[in-house]
């Protein structure tokens, strides 16, 4: 994420006084070292995953998870890949997480527009009410949602899962965006209103462009949070053709036996799209900020 150093439309930064750099010379390296050490510690479990993802089951059982594999074993992963039709599951997960991300952002934006800028009455309570969607433990929702979905004929469809998560994620989005929009510069809105712009135009021409960085953050969060969801897809998606990756990974764990190396390999692969998404939108975040600054 590029850090913008130029404040809005003002002059370039003055170079730091040389005195500071001498004084702080060593300490900044120490700090960097410490933080890097921390980051490496954070990554240790992933190293374990890598170590065990391409290990044969025999190796894993005999040598344990801490041992180096005797050969680069991909058969387990390849078998699993074709058996479970991993590309299809990948597509399902992407479809669901992507749809939820986009729809969640849209719904949050609409809600927040009314609450933050429109300042409708009782907005504090309304935000709280929406936030309720995030506060409910999911197990509480399962049976009623199952009944409702069955009645509407949406049981065992991806659409049901998309709708459910759009609501849950947009709770957080509404809260966040409403907060941001409540401090939106009135001058811009007044100017637009003077030009005769309707509320709708104001939303998309004035508000939206300024919110891009925040929206980018929401997109990332929503995508990643939905990607890893397990309980509700487990209940709602019965056919193998509609299932997502976490549910597919669960098939590696039987009643009493489990296949740890393949589970690791499968998880590592499932991490890739989520990470890609994060990296892509990280850059939009940065660009969005500098764009806003040069407004």
């Amino acid at each position: 994420m590029a850090v913008t150093l130029t404040p809005a439309g003002s002059t370039a930064r003055r170079p730091r006084p040389a005195r500071d750099r001498h004084h702080r010379g060593v300490s900044r390296w120490v700090v960097l070292a410490l933080v890097t050490l921390g980051a490496l510690v954070m990554l240790v479990p992933f190293a374990f995953m890598l170590l065990n993802a391409f290990k044969s089951p025999g190796d894993y059982s005999t040598g344990g998870p801490l041992s180096w594999p005797s050969e680069f074993y991909t058969k387990g992963l390849r078998t699993y890949w074709s058996e479970v039709d991993f590309p299809l599951k990948l597509w399902n997960s992407t479809l669901i997480a992507g749809s939820v991300a986009v729809l969640g952002v849209v719904v949050s934006l609409l809600n927040a527009y009314a609450l933050g800028i429109g300042r409708v009455r009782g907005r504090l309570w309304i935000v709280g009410l929406f936030l309720l969607a995030n506060m409910l433990p999911q197990e509480a929702l399962i049976y009623p949602l199952y009944d409702a979905a069955k009645q509407v004929g949406l049981y065992n469809t991806r659409l049901a899962v998309i709708i459910i998560f759009t609501v849950i994620q947009s709770a957080f989005g509404t809260y966040l965006l409403a907060s941001v929009l409540s401090t939106f510069p009135r001058s811009l809105l007044e100017a637009a209103a003077l030009d005769g712009a309707s509320r709708w135009t104001v939303l998309w021409r004035v508000v939206f462009p300024n919110l891009r960085p925040t929206l980018a953050v929401l997109l990332i969060f929503f995508f990643i949070w939905t990607w890893n969801e397990f309980l509700i897809p487990l209940v709602m998606l019965i056919d193998n053709s509609t299932q997502t990756i976490p549910v597919a990974l669960a098939s590696l764990q039987g009643d009493r036996l489990m296949d740890a190396p393949t589970t690791n390999a499968g998880s590592l692969i499932s991490l890739v799209p989520a990470i890609l998404f994060f990296l892509i939108f990280q850059r939009t975040l940065a660009r969005g900020i500098t764009a806003g600054a040069e407004k």
Binding site: P57, Y60, S61, T62, Y146, L234, V247, D255, L257
Partner: protein, 434 residues
């Protein structure tokens, strides 16, 4: 190409199929004898004994029902376990599926009318002859959902039981012979402890600890006890033998170092890999490991029945059930019938599983043969005692919690027995008072 030949073959097969179906009396009011698809689900992995055998069964079924499409989906166990009720109660469920045996699963669903009554089919097709009475216990449930009597609601293809796996090389190294009584086993374990080796790998965080406790208790139990404990025939006193004996002996074994104290947080997988890696001389666990051990173990190993017991933890395997909403019931019955055929049963036996109705001569590997013979011995003598967590829904975690306490020494056997007695009593009251 052999178009004519294929046509003739198809006609012949169709004729066979039609007569078979007609003979089975597909007249249960439009039960789908003319159905064109069979939606079949199970959750065994493709390289497991059942997976291999059932793939073959599907192939046979397709050959015998040429006009029928088999929609087979392999599921995750967790999904079926958690949501079977929801799935079967909707229109999205399968026509036939694998499901867990026991009161809390098959029993519960059958008592709610969600499973088809298979009694007629079982009689017509002679399934009762292929399965020993011991195995039929888990196939039949009464109107309260309690196993042992009543209608047939499921059909098992395989069995499972708990035994002792041992590392022959380690036994030879320390001069230990295979024990035939519990005393001999204790002495064997003493030998290992004396040499600084923990004799028994255990797993306190999952089912193995509870199964060890149960095996110990069963060494002092009789069939009547099992009926009381599992079928609620009479109340069970947890403060009396055999359960008291089981808990106290378990604690004793921990004290003597037969079971490591830090096994409290280990999962079954950890215990299994400890054995596979050659570190553990013995484990007390079930036949479900057998196929994997065959694949992955590189040293000499074998198994023996828990010494001295007449009763062993074990039961029939998972059941084929036909949901009440099934649109292809007679096709489902045909499939079940195919799975009980000698050819399919032999496949189970030759791939590391325990078939219920196999012809011993068709089993090639002597180790496999021994496994199956051991099971048959137990099954014939009505020695299958099911599993300790079966009686009450959710009892599994209660047992895990209790026996973790015994392994890490934070609770006395008395306290553990108290802790596991109450949920049992509450649960049974729920069920029988229903």
């Amino acid at each position: 190409m052999g178009r004519i030949r294929r046509l003739v073959a198809a006609v012949a097969l169709a004729a066979t199929a039609t007569t078979t179906i007609a003979a089975c009396g597909g007249d249960e009011g439009g039960d789908g004898s003319d159905a064109k698809t069979l939606k079949l689900w199970h959750y065994e992995s493709a390289n497991s004994a059942m997976g291999v055998a059932w793939d073959r069964a599907i192939q046979i079924f397709k050959d015998e029902h040429p006009g029928v499409e088999v929609q087979f989906e392999r599921k995750a166990f967790e999904q079926i376990q958690q949501n079977a009720g929801m799935i079967i109660n909707s229109s999205e469920g399968p026509d036939i599926m694998e499901y867990n045996k026991g009161n809390a699963t098959a029993g519960l669903l059958s008592s709610q009318g969600l499973l088809t009554d298979l009694t007629d089919e079982a009689e017509k097709r002679g399934w009762g002859d292929k399965l020993s009475p011991s195995l039929q216990t888990t196939a039949r449930y009464d109107d309260k959902g309690v196993m042992g009597s009543g209608n047939w609601y499921g059909v098992p293809n395989y069995g499972e039981f708990v035994m002792v796996y041992y590392n022959k090389d380690l036994f030879d190294k320390y001069g230990v012979t295979v024990p035939t009584t519990l005393d001999e086993m204790t002495r064997a374990m003493d030998t290992f402890v004396g040499k600084g080796v923990t004799p028994l790998a255990e797993a306190g965080a999952e089912y193995p600890a509870g199964q060890l406790f149960y095996q110990l208790a069963l060494s002092k139990a009789d069939r009547a006890f099992v009926d009381d404990y599992q079928l609620y025939k009479n109340p069970v006193d947890f403060k009396a033998d055999p359960l008291k004996y089981g808990a106290e002996t378990f604690a004793d074994w921990v004290r003597k170092g037969y079971v490591a104290k830090d096994a409290a947080s280990l999962k079954a997988e950890d215990m299994g890999t400890a054995f596979i890696s050659g570190k553990a001389p013995m484990i007390v666990s079930g036949s479900w490991w057998y196929g994997r051990f065959k694949d992955e173990i590189r040293f000499n190993w074998d198994s023996f029945l828990f010494p001295g017991n007449k009763l062993h933890a074990g039961s029939s395997g998972n059941l084929w059930v036909v949901p009440a909403n099934s649109k292809a019931k007679s096709l489902a019955y045909d499939f079940i019938d195919i799975t009980l055929r000698p050819e399919v049963q032999a496949l189970i036996g030759n791939n590391g599983g325990v078939p219920v109705a196999a012809d011993a001569s068709q089993i090639s590997d002597p180790k496999d043969k021994k496994l199956i013979e051991n099971f048959n011995t137990v099954s014939q003598q009505d020695g299958l005692a099911f599993y300790p967590d079966w009686p009450v829904p959710g009892y599994y975690d209660v047992l895990v919690s209790g026996f973790q306490g015994l392994i890490n020494g934070s609770r006395t056997p008395d306290q553990v027995l108290d802790a596991i007695a109450k949920p049992y009593a509450d649960g049974v009251k729920e069920i029988t008072g229903k």
